[in-house]
Subunit: 518 residues, 2 copies
Amino acid sequence: MLAPPLRQQSLGAGRVSQPPCRRRTPNPNPVCHNAAAQGCDPPSPTGLQATQESPHIYTREEVRSHSSPETRIWVTLGCEVFDVTEFVDLHPGGPSKLMLAAGGPLEPFWALYAVHNQPHVREMLAQYKIGELSPEDKAPSTLKTSDPYIDDPVRHPALKVNSQRPFNAEPPPELLTENYITPNPIFFTRNHLPVPNLDPETYRLHVVGPPGGQSLCLSLDDLYKFPKHEITVTLQCAGNRRSEMTQFKEVRGLEWNIGAISTARWAGARLCDVLAKAGHQLCETEAHVCFEGLDSDPTGTAYGASIPLARAMDPEAEVLLAYEMNGQPLPRDHGFPVRVVVPGVVGARHVKWLGKVSVEPEESYSHWQRRDYKGFSPSVDWDTVDFDSAPSIQELPVQSAITEPKDGETVQSGEVTIKGYAWSGGGRAVVRVDVSLDGGLTWHVAELDGEEQRPRKAWAWRLWQLQAPVPAGRKELNIVCKAVDDSYNVQPDTVAPIWNLRGVLSNAWHHVHVHVAP
Amino acid sequence: MLAPPLRQQSLGAGRVSQPPCRRRTPNPNPVCHNAAAQGCDPPSPTGLQATQESPHIYTREEVRSHSSPETRIWVTLGCEVFDVTEFVDLHPGGPSKLMLAAGGPLEPFWALYAVHNQPHVREMLAQYKIGELSPEDKAPSTLKTSDPYIDDPVRHPALKVNSQRPFNAEPPPELLTENYITPNPIFFTRNHLPVPNLDPETYRLHVVGPPGGQSLCLSLDDLYKFPKHEITVTLQCAGNRRSEMTQFKEVRGLEWNIGAISTARWAGARLCDVLAKAGHQLCETEAHVCFEGLDSDPTGTAYGASIPLARAMDPEAEVLLAYEMNGQPLPRDHGFPVRVVVPGVVGARHVKWLGKVSVEPEESYSHWQRRDYKGFSPSVDWDTVDFDSAPSIQELPVQSAITEPKDGETVQSGEVTIKGYAWSGGGRAVVRVDVSLDGGLTWHVAELDGEEQRPRKAWAWRLWQLQAPVPAGRKELNIVCKAVDDSYNVQPDTVAPIWNLRGVLSNAWHHVHVHVAP
């Protein structure tokens, strides 16, 4: 790498497709003199006008004075200045996150969220360019950013990485259903922030008591004293199979394939026992139990989410404060030393590195609860979306996917073996998986493997397989699967009618196209 | 009618399309002499060979000796004799029902189930013809059948009748969503047997106690002494919208349109309170609470069904022994004096004219629990079906339909108003209804009316409507609706992939095609 360390940090590393800013090659931009040395990016495709007329020149002082809607909101990237006032409410990460950079440079924040390092983000930003920094202010920001991800754990090389910072990765399909229980090192990982490095000796979980009651401050040893409860639970990210939605129409989100789902044996204290110990009772309200992680952004904002109190207090719902995953202490990527496990519910509520539990009159005010992880009609876009109009995702709908054969593979004529997984939210058991070799015209019933599930507590997936004769003379097969749960809910036929701007809840029939060996 | 009363009874009345058997016109069958006078049916299309050669002749005594699989199973209809041994296991009403007629005439049983009076049933039976009755035995069976339906109540003329005996009828779409609460007289009616006429003074509900415990024998006054619980619940028949499945491929079942669903305010004692009074407790088993109705067939077999004990004992599931419907005593068609109401669960479990409640280790052995009301893959037909392979339907999947405009109607250009209902099983609330005017290419979000629902207890439907501009220049509209519930389950796009041999669980997108006035 030619770029010096600071620049490398501020743009993030890994899958960056843009050239590093401080490259030593001549910069073609005739306006931004010595831009290469000053940290200015090459002109973006839509910013070409800047090369044809003199840009407005602003000082850092001037930029700093534009940090509120009243004064308008300016930010800088390299030597360029942008007025993002109109964009703030459209910011996929939430307005508050963008406001952190108001009046200053974007680099320290983009260092946290490498998702920004994509061409379409640059293009979007270019539309808001209003000028450039004055020559004396073109030096990179003096705000030193240490790499917040430098302490992230080492990961298994088999994982398919969708984002390095924060780390998001999934097991490849061929490993995903190799075992009913997913081995810890290849369990899909969905991080929103850097992984905290917590000392189990000093770790404390803060459980806020009810009004007039007593709060708890629990060490790991304290947690171990609650009855240990152990259950097999499948976790799935709301964005699993998002890549199929993207194929229909662009969405904002990580490009998950079919692997943002995994299954583990979790052990820990039941949340209802801990809440009861703190004096909480179930009341007939819309109260939520709010969780806060110990992972946080530079402003100290922690990851947060919540679930209804009714679920939290229901012993049958088996919500855990888990400290073991497949018989081991939680790996750091999965919330060491304590995470929430909410069986049957979207992964986003299984808060990792759990620091605080409280009962609130309403659901969590966290960005991830109220401004993300919601489903919308295909007609809703980023100009019309009203996040308050949709409920936050809790239970997930019925889901299935094919893990073998892989798309594009060549299978032998004669007989083909098809494997995959199926799962449904809310403890609903998968009762049947239908598989088609002809795109959905005719169907076979697959054999369900894996453990039988308890009624109303089918928290874990079923693996399935089918041996089927390859119809004679076929050169290609369009293999499809669809699952049915015990409420007889089914998957929708196609993805377009469930498309949504965040690309969540992608559970249409899964297709795999293969060639048949002659 | 030319047919004498007995014959009219034995073939059933109402929608019979076959000519009455004892007609006075000359019978073209040259073999069955004097068939018209003897009660012999005209030859069926597949029975033509009988007209070309002399049939075997059997006595009633001989027929009577063939009444078990060992001796083979014969039955008679009119003067014809059939060996139905191979058909018994395929009988849609269950083998046990057909075995009731083994060795004797079918007429007394067909009198109960008018569904048999259809051409395809006659055709199916004709395949099994082995001969005819001897001349001296051709007189109609001496088994006198009084009309078991003669005491059925008088019904509202607005109801669209799908079957008179037993009575099955639905409100027309234009009335269905006129009110959030369906008026009692037009609430859809699904009877399996004649309506019993019960005396509220002598009525008793038998609740079997646990082993070593005490059984209860409750009068209505006893039931009134339990806390009165009142809830709004939508009931839906598993066969609602079956007619759309039939359009794709024939199924066996009543031709319900979109009206086998209705909503009422029910009041009664909670089942959990009554079970607790009898000494029952929740145990960690697969136990079911079995219900028996006081309606029964000629052998005394009562309608029966069951639900999991876990649901029955859960106060939050609000299962009722209901004695009031919209502030009135239950109408006779809806179970007077007491029926079960199981919120969020298929109508078939809401046993009417309730006579007995017991807790059993397994689900009910009733035909309607184990050999009906189950879903299968589209690949399963009556030759391959294994009823034990599928779970009995309990919670129903998400559902919606358009009640206005009606299919084939002409709407004004300018703006169109679209109305309908949406509901989901298991207490899952409907969170959104999408409506398309172009067959599903683009979508509008409908406005949800009706009561807001409590979390996890959304037992009642939402009515919805949309005012949408009619795209200029369109001569026809393909209007579609689809609903989303709070587990973000959606309806499947098309009916073919969810087709099943009984035509249950028909919840694909609902389409209405209308013309636009020029």
